[in-house]
Symmetry: C2
Subunit: 430 residues, 2 copies
């Protein structure tokens, strides 16, 4: 029987939504590596009674419960108290927690304040988890056949503490209990085909009874296709790798042209990898994406080795001055046109002496659209300039709000560059 | 007694995290307008037993339960079945649901497929909620003193259906039951003071027994300070507005210098507003932020009226060519220096003829740091060039990973510009 986990995020502000839940990402993955499946996630505010309720509910339906948040120094931070009450383990000042805090603060010439000392109150019998990044220690205890872990809400802290102290412990326990295997999962990232079309194309690719689940998740960056072998039988676990490899091959055969990455590699990382191996410098001219392509490319450490510059030319004047687009061209075709996209890609490449120029011009909305040129119309240009390397222009019509259109346009531009690099990159290198 | 709500998001992919929870945003706000407080949020996969478990748990601790997702046409979509089982109300084909679907598909010359017909199975006794956007109808039923609402997972569909069909109904019921009022909430957005310092400065600002809760939420963009009047007594509800106004004033008195926005206005919107009213054009020179400032500024509709251009000068060569920074200056001070930041801001302003130039240069890491210039060192420059408007240079040392440092640097730059605009903008206009 596979162990079940529940994640409880504590914090009244989290109930509001609108934020990216970063903690679940590595917790789900880390728990899966120990063969533990996250089945429930809960968000609860700072009310102690509600946290206690969430802990009791979770311990009734999962064997591993991971709480994040509510370990700070303020009176609002009630996770420690809630765990103490729910489990009947009173809070005690713990020497090892104090020592860690004292040493960290000493580096900055400070001593713990009364508020900070609240953070070293730990339920009795719990193991203290040192926080190498921030001030709040976490803890871990066993209660009614359930492992209860409390981590800070700050993702960078929670991530390190989980990796260093929690994951190895869970894996060890799984081995000690003779539980085998991990949840195998493959993710393929696609762009260019709507979810409903992918669903049609992938119909029947997973044979019934294989114990593998196919998942599709759409976003402006494309559709994520996941294959998860999480059957309760050991059969899937034993031959899971082989089964998944074969199924992934089947999926690739059907929709390979739309797959830009496997696993959690981002489009900007893939493009960066290809630029490095082609030894090409890139220059980008953005209009409607407003800097998003530059921002995404520079999220990748080391991107300074292949990204020369980005010119965000929001005004016509900027397109003329920075890219050498002519007034005539803009007047005749409009700033959002295939002709201007081509001139922008060429202009940024020539002026930067980069090996390849990429450009985007379009209408992100909500205003600025016309019947001929509606909101969502985007032109993408790629200019290489060497013989045998064609320059490309593509027209797109994207749906959605301003942000979605910017995201889709940035993704389409990077995908065009990726396909071009896959095709012509090796020739350039050699 | 204030009614409590629980939101249940259904979908195995949601358990993975890493996505923005858009539905909670309008659901929490919409429910608050009807005087209903969201106390719990749950995420559950596609397993029917888990959805049933979540519904039972929720109905035990909330009077309003809103499910989103799992209403699609595939076999994975189990919300209908789970509600039927949990409540003992068998699924029935509903004529009104069929009629709505038939009519919508007829527009495209189609008839419902067998899979789509699954979507018109509705628990008996439930009210059908028409979906004006997509194919999945929702529904709403009363069960054991609890209102249970099922909406599609797609935010645009769920949002419309909630606004059109659910919110008015909940408000009507609240009025019929003699429940008054709504949850009043104020949000102040701050940048520049760490959470622990804010906590200290705000100690005692909310008198005990006022029924108002103070919340702090830190992110790389600053700390969000919220005041929520959600006492169970009608007293706070009756005079909530006055109480909150007074308390917000008290908070402003203590930390006003760090508040850049009230409500959900973003920094880029605030800056855009000031640029419009000052009739100033802006040009930006980014290095380590890589286009993020441009991306953020252009998230605001109409930003083309005040943003002339952004030059992302990742290479020294680009700084020299696009901004007129001299080789000598870079050699003497390094590309990450107050001198280069000043030259960048001046260069982009002069070359663009914008009224104000903003620049950022720094080390986003993880590589590239030295003992003298560690990762996180960032210089921000602002150049105005008219007499009486000083140019500014600021040095920052940010913590965190590459993405956090980029975010913090972009926020610090926009905040510097905002403060400058607040101070000198009115003079420019007049």
């Amino acid at each position: 029987m596979m162990q079940r986990a529940e994640i409880i995020a504590v914090g009244s502000e989290l109930l509001l939504g609108g934020r990216v839940d970063t903690n679940s990402l590595f917790l789900t993955e880390g728990l899966a590596s120990a063969g533990i499946e996250v089945r429930f996630k809960s968000v609860v505010g700072d009310e102690e009674a509600d946290i206690i309720n969430a802990i009791r509910t979770a311990s009734g339906r999962a064997e591993v419960v991971v709480l994040t948040g509510g370990l700070g120094p303020t009176l609002d931070d009630r996770t420690r108290q809630a765990v103490a009450h729910a489990t009947g383990r009173p809070l005690r000042r713990r020497a090892e927690a104090f020592e860690g805090m004292r040493r960290r603060l000493a580096v900055w010439g400070r001593t713990p304040t009364a508020a900070q000392l609240r953070q070293i109150l730990i339920p009795s019998g719990a193991e203290v988890l040192a926080n190498p990044v921030g001030s709040a220690p976490g803890f871990c205890l066993k209660w009614k056949g359930c492992v209860l872990v409390a981590l800070p809400g700050v993702p960078s802290e929670a991530k390190q503490m989980f990796a260093v102290a929690v994951a190895p412990r869970l894996t060890r326990e799984a081995a000690a209990q003779g539980r085998q295997g991990r949840i195998e999962r493959r993710v393929l990232q696609t762009f260019g085909l709507p979810e409903s079309d992918l669903d049609l194309q992938l119909r029947g690719v997973i044979p019934a009874g294989s114990g593998v689940r196919l998942g599709l998740l759409a976003s402006p960056l494309g559709v994520l296709v996941s294959l998860t072998a999480c059957g309760s039988g050991s059969e899937v676990n034993k031959k899971g790798d082989g089964v998944l490899d074969r199924l992934v091959k089947g999926v690739r055969k059907r929709i390979g042209a739309y797959i830009y990455a496997e696993g959690d590699e981002t489009m900007e990382e893939v493009v960066g990898r290809h630029l490095v191996s082609s030894r090409l410098m890139l220059a980008v001219a953005e209009s409607c994406t407003g800097g998003l392509i530059g921002h995404r490319l520079t999220q990748v450490p080391g991107s300074s080795t292949y990204l020369d510059r980005v010119a965000v030319c929001y005004s016509d004047q900027a397109k003329i001055e920075l890219l050498g687009v002519t007034t005539h061209l803009i007047r005749r075709n409009g700033a959002v046109s295939a002709e201007v996209a081509a001139a922008m890609a060429r202009g940024i490449r020539l002026r930067s002496r980069a090996g390849v120029g990429l450009s985007v011009t379009g209408i992100a909305g909500p205003g600025g659209g016309t019947a001929q040129k509606p909101v969502g119309l985007v032109y993408i240009g790629l200019n290489a300039g060497r013989s045998g390397q064609p320059s490309l222009i593509r027209e797109f019509r994207f749906h959605g709000d301003r942000h979605s259109i910017k995201l889709r346009a940035s993704q389409a531009a990077l995908e065009l560059l990726r396909q071009w690099l896959v095709r012509y990159g090796p020739r350039i290198r050699s």
